[in-house]
């Protein structure tokens, strides 16, 4: 019986110590949308680094894919139970909910772990800034431009340098639209514009619009907008009809397997095509999308993925310590190597190469070249993409209209009128 009494005492002591310990330890919940093997491995190393640096902080990592992030987090935010940190690209919806903690005062008053304003690429930090406040610490820069299959381009007698304007781009796209097998059917197209998925129908057009120094929300610039729609219509002659059923992954397939020679995409290109065929990286080149007729130098859309803190975080100081460590030169630099363009200016080429060469062993040189090409385009023409609340709804409207334009059931003027009416109404509803 006395053993039972002792056992109860020891157990009670453990429970009390456990409760005391958990009360003293600060828990920080981090939602990480990186779901690839390499990203998870990075997350494990990052967790270990946090535990070594801040043993008093207990970090809990949750993995949620990019596609489910908003859907899963909005109910938690509404219920007053948000996580502490999340990696974000377009944070407009969370900002509109008032769910994000402005990081400006943290950044200015408590710089730590080598995180301070000056270490970030300016245009990338601009993307993280809304109404004068910084809301995310950029980790990875995403530049959007044009990817070209140089082997197909050269075969047609052109070089990347020939792609300067929309006009020259259409000429090249036409030259690259070829019946290779001679059976009377086109089997290689100049360009692939995947309009099967709202997100990509919108984003590719956004890239093209930026190249003429306009946004897809610039309805007050009717002439410019109509020129963009006419350009997309003209371009559709050199796009496989099947692109109306494609999402981005299928567009990458089309490029890799020679179904199309060019596509508008982001600096995550290598990460997506390498597993399909590593050799494709060697015959791919990145450049800014050719400028439109109204632009002297077209803009290159720039976004980033970075760490945001929720205003409902219960341990803001601990969360700040964790997010700065995750964005540090060492950990942030390593993470940016997966996608290529680092958000920090102090991440060295060697640092990227050490990780990227291991990730892309069959095309290390070509990968580095493409990183450089995207970085150059961002550096010269980078313009932050807009943070657009309600973008998902706009994307669906845009996809419907752009497909109507491509299949000829509507004219550019009709599409413009419909977009102006419906997207303006969505914007009004979000205010």
């Amino acid at each position: 019986m006395q053993y039972v009494g002792r056992y109860v005492k020891v157990l009670t002591l453990f429970v009390v110590m456990g409760l005391l310990g958990s009360a003293l330890a600060q828990t920080v919940e981090v939602v990480f949308p990186g779901t690839s093997e390499a990203e998870r491995a990075w997350a494990e190393r990052a967790l270990q680094a946090v535990q070594e640096t801040y043993p008093e902080i207990n970090v809990r990592m949750s993995y949620i894919g990019w596609g489910d992030l908003t859907e899963r987090l909005v109910p938690r935010i509404t219920a007053g139970n948000p996580p502490d940190l999340v990696m974000q690209q377009d944070f407009a919806n969370f900002h509109a909910m008032g769910a994000l903690e402005p990081l400006t005062s943290f950044l200015d008053e408590q710089p730590m772990n080598t995180v301070e304003r000056d270490v970030f690429v300016e245009s990338l930090l601009d993307f993280s800034t809304l109404d004068g406040d910084v809301y995310t610490l950029p980790v990875v820069g995403i530049g959007y431009g044009l990817i070209v299959r140089t082997d197909l381009l050269e075969e047609a007698g052109y070089t990347v340098e020939d792609l300067t304007t929309w006009e020259s781009f259409l000429e090249v796209a036409e030259a690259l639209t070829i019946d290779r097998s001679g059976d009377g059917r086109i089997d290689q197209y100049g360009f692939v514009y995947p309009t099967g998925h709202p997100r990509f129908a919108w984003r590719q057009a956004y890239i093209m619009g930026y190249s003429n120094n306009m946004s897809l929300l610039d309805f007050d610039q009717e002439e410019k907008y109509l020129r963009l729609l006419d350009f997309i219509k003209d371009l559709s002659a050199f796009v496989p009809a099947g692109a109306q059923a494609m999402d981005l992954a299928e567009a990458f397939n089309a490029i890799t397997f020679g179904r199309a020679a060019m596509m508008a995409t982001g600096s995550f290109y290598v990460a997506n095509v390498y597993s399909l065929d590593p050799d494709i990286v060697n015959v791919s080149s990145a450049t800014a999308f050719p400028r439109g007729p109204d632009a002297d130098a077209g803009w290159v859309p720039v976004a980033n993925a970075g760490w945001a803190m929720f205003s409902g975080s219960r341990n803001k100081d601990a969360a700040w310590q964790v997010m700065t460590l995750l964005s540090s030169q060492e950990l942030g630099g390593e993470y940016s190597s997966f996608i290529n363009v680092p958000a920090r200016v102090d991440v060295t080429d060697d640092q990227i190469a050490a990780v990227a060469d291991a990730l892309y062993p069959e095309a290390p040189e070509a990968n580095r070249r493409i990183v450089g090409e995207f970085f150059d385009a961002v550096d010269r023409y980078g313009m932050p993409m807009e943070q657009i609340p309600g973008r998902e709804e706009m994307e669906r409207v845009f996809t419907r209209e752009i497909n109507a334009l491509i299949d000829g059931s509507k004219t550019s003027a009709q599409v413009f009128a419909a977009l102006r009416e419906e997207i303006t109404a969505i914007q009004a509803a979000q205010r």
Binding site: E71, V74, P75, I77, T78, N93, A96, M97, R185, T195, G196, H197, P198, A201, P240, A241, G242, Q244, A245, M246, E250, A254, R259, P389, G390, E392, E393, R396, V397, F398, T399, R400, E401, N403, A404, D407, S409, E421, E422, A429, Q430
Partner: protein, 299 residues
């Protein structure tokens, strides 16, 4: 009055005690969500703007019926989807049931095999159909091109002229086996003596079908039609896997639109109003079916 109810409850308290778990489950999982949805439909609640619902009266319904640019398109799509699926499934299923009702070698095996599309998970069916219909490397285009039936690859799921026929084809392929099974059970209840008497009176095959099979089967036809209508009305997954309601809203049916409004745009008030309209519409259809059934009398 109250005391008599209490007396009755006390008399059967053991029975009520055992009913409690079921009642609690129904209240939590059915009554509460339905009541909340109805309540929300009269409120404006956009989670991206404010977590607090505000009274909107009939505002959401008025907006849907008069100002929402997609609502009538979506309702039209839903009608095409539901009526097309149900009618085509009924026709195909009747043919299958009639075939399986005859004696032939391997009938038992055929009755089992016919159920394969029905028991295959809908996500698998959807992905398989997406592959078949893929404009770039799909089997359908491959063979149609080879046989010279088409000159260029067709974007089956994105061409306005082909998208509904192929969606209905996939729906019929998936849904008709279940309907065929139900109709087969019905066919087996038709007394042979009726057919024999009619044949003696000189009735031909069409007359047998028109004046014996259909009237006797009428209750079952109404029931399976009702079940299929409701199931198709709420069938979110098939459309979602094949087209995600797109491009744009071209194949968006009401269940997909509820998802868009509620869980992509986070307009829960509007999404709830849509759900209420959806339930009311399907209820009206159900009542019409049941009334129709009441008017029918076998033979």
């Amino acid at each position: 009055m109250v005391s008599s109810i209490l007396r009755r409850v006390m008399r059967a308290k053991t029975a009520y005690f055992f009913l409690l778990p079921v009642l609690a489950t129904l209240l939590i999982l059915n009554v509460y969500p339905v009541a909340t949805t109805i309540w929300l439909s009269f409120h404006e609640l956009n989670l991206l703007r404010s977590p607090e619902p505000s009274w909107a009266g009939l505002g959401n319904f008025v907006h849907l019926l008069t100002r929402d640019g997609n609502f009538w398109l979506v309702m039209g799509n839903t009608m095409i989807w539901v009526i097309g699926s149900t009618v085509l499934q009924l026709i195909v299923a009747f043919g299958i049931a009639a075939l399986l009702n005859r004696r032939f070698f391997g009938r038992k095996l055929a009755r089992t095999l016919i159920l394969i599309p029905w028991v295959t998970p809908i996500i698998v069916v959807g992905i398989a159909w997406r592959w078949i219909l893929n404009p770039e490397w799909g089997m359908l285009n491959h063979y149609f091109l080879r046989w010279g039936l088409i000159q260029d690859p067709v974007t089956w799921l994105y061409n306005p002229n082909t998208v509904w026929p192929v969606l209905l084809l996939a729906s019929v392929w998936k849904g008709s086996p279940f309907m065929a099974l139900m109709l087969l059970a019905g066919l087996q209840t038709v007394p042979r003596s009726l057919y024999e008497a009619a044949i003696v009176d000189g009735a031909n095959t069409v007359q047998l079908f028109r004046h014996i099979t259909i009237p006797v089967m009428a209750p079952i036809i109404v029931i399976v039609t009702l079940i299929t209508t409701m199931e198709t009305w709420n069938n979110f997954r098939m459309i979602w896997v094949l087209t995600e309601g797109g491009p744009g809203y071209r194949t968006t049916v009401v269940s997909v639109y509820i998802y868009f409004r509620s869980f992509q745009d986070f307009q829960l008030g509007m999404g709830s109003a849509l759900a209420v309209v959806s339930v009311l519409t399907i209820s009206i259809l159900g009542i019409l079916y049941i009334r129709m059934r009441a008017r029918m009398s076998p033979l």
